[in-house]
C-alpha cells in the first residue's frame, strides 16, 4: 500500500500543474475578453462576392 504515497504525490503534482496553467492564462490576459474571439472566429478570410463587385 505504500504505493499510495507515490500516487497521491503524482496526483497533487498534476493538479498543481493545472493550477499554474490557469494562473498563466490569467496573467496572459486570456480571460480578459471572453466575447470578441467568439465573434471573430466566424469571419471568413475573404468573402467570395467581394471581388466580383
Amino acid at each position: 500500500m505504500n504505493i499510495l504515497y507515490f500516487l497521491i504525490g503524482c496526483s497533487v503534482f498534476l493538479a498543481l500543474i493545472f493550477l499554474f496553467a490557469f494562473f498563466w492564462a490569467m496573467k496572459n490576459g486570456q480571460n480578459d475578453d471572453t466575447y470578441t474571439p467568439a465573434v471573430r472566429i466566424l469571419f471568413d478570410d475573404e468573402l467570395p462576392n467581394e471581388n466580383k463587385k
Binding site: 500500500m1 499510495l4 504515497y5 497521491i8 497533487v12 493538479a15 493550477l19 490557469f22 494562473f23 490569467m26 480571460n31 480578459d32 475578453d33 466575447y35 470578441t36 465573434v39 471573430r40 466566424l42 469571419f43 475573404e46 468573402l47 462576392n49 467581394e50 471581388n51 463587385k53
Partner: protein, 799 residues
Amino acid sequence: MDNLEIQGQAETLTQCFHCGNDCLEDQFHYDDRNFCCIGCQSVYTILSENQLCNYYVYNTNPGKTQDVKSTHYDYLDEPKIASSLLDYADENVSIITLYIPAIHCSSCLWLLEHLYKINGSIVNSRIDFLKKQVVITFKHKEFSLRELISMLAAIGYEPIISLQDVVKEQNKVSDSDIIKKIAVAGFCFGNVMLLSFPEYFGMAAFEHQFKTFFGWLNLVFATPVVFYSGRDYFISAWKNLRNKILNLDFPLALGIAVMFIRSIYEIGSGTGAGFVDTLCGLVFFLLIGKWVQQRTYHHLSFERDYRSYFPVAVTLISEGIEKPIPIEELKVGNRILIRNNEIIPADTILMKGDALIDFSFVTGESAPVQKVLGEIVYAGGRQINEAIELEVIKPVSQSYLTSLWNNEAFEGKKRKIDTFSDAVSRYFSVALLIIAFGSAAFWMFDDRVKAWQSFTAVLIIACPCALALSSPFTLSAVLSIFDKNKFYLKNTAVVEQMAKINTLVFDKTGTITSPEGFRISFEGNLSHEEQCMISSLARNSGHPLSRELVKWMKINEYFTVSSYQEIPGKGIEGRVNNKMIRIGSASFINIKSEKKDSGTIYIQIGDHYVGYFSFRQCWRPGLKELFTTLGSQLNMHLLSGDQDSEREFLLPAFPWADQMHFNQSPQDKLNYIYALQQKNNKVMMLGDGLNDAGALKQSDLGIAVTDNINNFSPGCDAILDGTGFEKLPNFIQQAKDAMKVIHISFGISTIYNTVGLFFAIQGLLSPLYAAILMPLSTVTIISFTSTATHLFARKNKLT
C-alpha cells in the same frame, strides 16, 4: 381657427443602405444604392474604394446615421496632448486604446479589425467588443494620430476623447485578484475533500498509517486557503474592530481562525481529523459570493464628471495665431476660439461673433440662448452657430459648472449605505460570542476538554456562511434581471437603497420627455403649396426648431429660395415663388404674441400672418400611468430648468401642482433635494444632464436616464435606458421583493445555525456533521435566493 393636420407624402420611403433609416430626401445615390444623408454615403464610398464592402455582408444596415460634424482634430498634432493619449510609443510604432461608442455589431468588429486595408501604416487593430474599445498599433511617422482619428471619424467610428479618460480608468479595475484566490481555494477544497473521504467512510486497521499522513497533507492545503484566500476577512475584521464596528467579517474570520487552530491541534495530537474540508469549502463559497457581488459593467461608467464632457484641448488665439492647447493650460485672460458644435470649457466673455449657445446640458432649458458681445458665457454650453471668440475669466476648475461637482457638501460625505446584513451582523456577532462563552463556562467545571470543544464548535458551526451568501446572491440576481430590462446599477447595495425610497424627484427635459422630439401642431390654414414653401425655406436653417419642422412636414417637393436670411434668435426669411416668407418669433413677424413661450413659431406669407406652429415636448409613453402607480406609493416631485409653459400640459398627468417647480437652476435642484432629506425622506432622483449632476449626487439614489447608454451621463448610482422608463414601478417593487427574499433566507440560515448549535453546545459536533451542514446550508441558500428572486421577477413582469 381649426386644427389642420398636415399629411406627409404617402409614398414608401427607401431605406438607407448604410444605416437603415428612411431616406427622406431622394438625392443620395452611389453604386445603385440609396443613402439617407451625405454622411452615410461618404462612409460607403470610403469602404467600397478599399474593398471593405464585406462590412455590409455580415449585417444589413450595420452603420449608424452620420450627423454632420465639423470636428477639428488639430490639437492631436500637439506632441504633449498626443503623448498623454498614447499607451505606448517607440521610434517606429505607437499604440493607443480608444473608446468608440458606435461599436455595436459584428460588422463593426470586422471593419475595425481590417483597418490595415484602408491604410497600410496601421499595423494591427484589435477590438474588445463588450468594452467598446479598440487597441490600434500604427506607424506614427507615416500616419499621425490626427490622421488616424480623422479616418475613424470618416468611416463613422469617432472615438470619444475627453479630459476624463474613462478608458484608462476602467482598465485599472480588475477582478483577477479575487479570481486567483478562488482558484487557490477551489483547488485546495477539491483535494482536501478527496483526502477526507477515507476518514468519513471509515478505514480498516491496517490503513491507519495513512490517517496522520492525510491529516498533515490536509493541513498543508489549508494553509494557503487561510493565509492567502481568506486573508481579506482577517484584515477587514481587524480594521472594523479598530473602528468599533462589528460586521459580518468578524464572525467569519473568527470561524476560519478557530477551525484552523482546532484542526492543527486535533491532527497534531492525533485526536481527530479536524475541520479542514469545512474550512476550505467555507472560504471557497464565501469568495464566490464576494465575486458575484463585485460584478461590474465594463461598458458603463458611473463615475463620470464634467471632465468627460469636456474636450481635451481648445483653440487658443495668441497674437493672431490659432494654436491648440490642453485645457488644463488655459489661463485667465486667454482668448479662445470656439467653432460650431464645440463646447465652451470655462467661464468666458464673448468678444467676437454671433453666439447662439445650447445650454440644455447645463440648465435643462432646451431652447438655445442668444448672447451679445461683452456678455458672460458660462462653461458647458455648446455653440451652434458660427465660430466665436471668447476671453477666459475663470480657470476651468473654478467655473460655475465645475463648482457643482466640487461642492463642499460632498466633501468628506462618502455615503455609507447601511445594508441589512450589516445591521443583522452586529446582533449576530454579540449573540454568537455570548453562546460560545456560555457553553464554555457551562462545561468548564466538569470537563475542561469538553469546554474547549464546545467553545470552538459553536464558533465553527455558527460561522455565518449562508448568512454571508444570501445578500450577494439575491442582489446579484436582481442586478442581472434589471440588466435584461436595461437598468444598470452601480453595485448591489443600490438595490437595498432602492427598497427604502419614499420620495421621487423627476427632472423634466430629457427625463420624462421623449427623445422623439416634439409634438407639433399648426393653428391656421395652409394649402399644400404653402406647406411646400414653408418647408423649402425652413430646410435652409440649422436651427433645431427648423429642422424639427422639416422632419415633421415630410414634404419632398422643394422650391428654390432666394434672398435667404437668418437673423439669429429671431427667425428666417426668404423669397419663395415670388412671395416673401418669414418664419420666427412674434416680434420678428411684428404681431402681438398670443403666447409667450419659445415653443411657438409664427408664419407670415407675403404680407399676411397665416398662423403658428406650436412645439410641445412629447412625454415618454405610459408616463401618466407611471405617475398614477408611483404616486399612490411615494411622494412625487418634479423639478425643471425650463420655463413653466408646460405646466398646464403636465397637470393632468402630474396632479401634485405644489410639488412641481420650474426655472430651477442646478443649485436650486440640489438644495431642494437637501431640504427633502432634512425632513427624513429617502430621495430618489431621476435626471439626465449635467444640470442634474449635483442633485443626483446629493440624493440617496441618483438615476441617470439616457436614451443611449453610451452617451454622456453624469455621475450616478444607476443608469436607466429610456426604453425601460415605463417599468420604473416594477423595478422598485422588485427591489422591495428582493429584500423579502433576503429576510427569508436569513431565517433559513438561522435555522441551520440553530440545529448546528444544538450539537455544538453539547460538545457533540463531529467534523462530519460540519462537513455536511455547511455545504448543505450554502446550497439551500443559493438555490432559494436565485429561484425566489426570479419568481418575483416574473410576478413583476421583468423577465
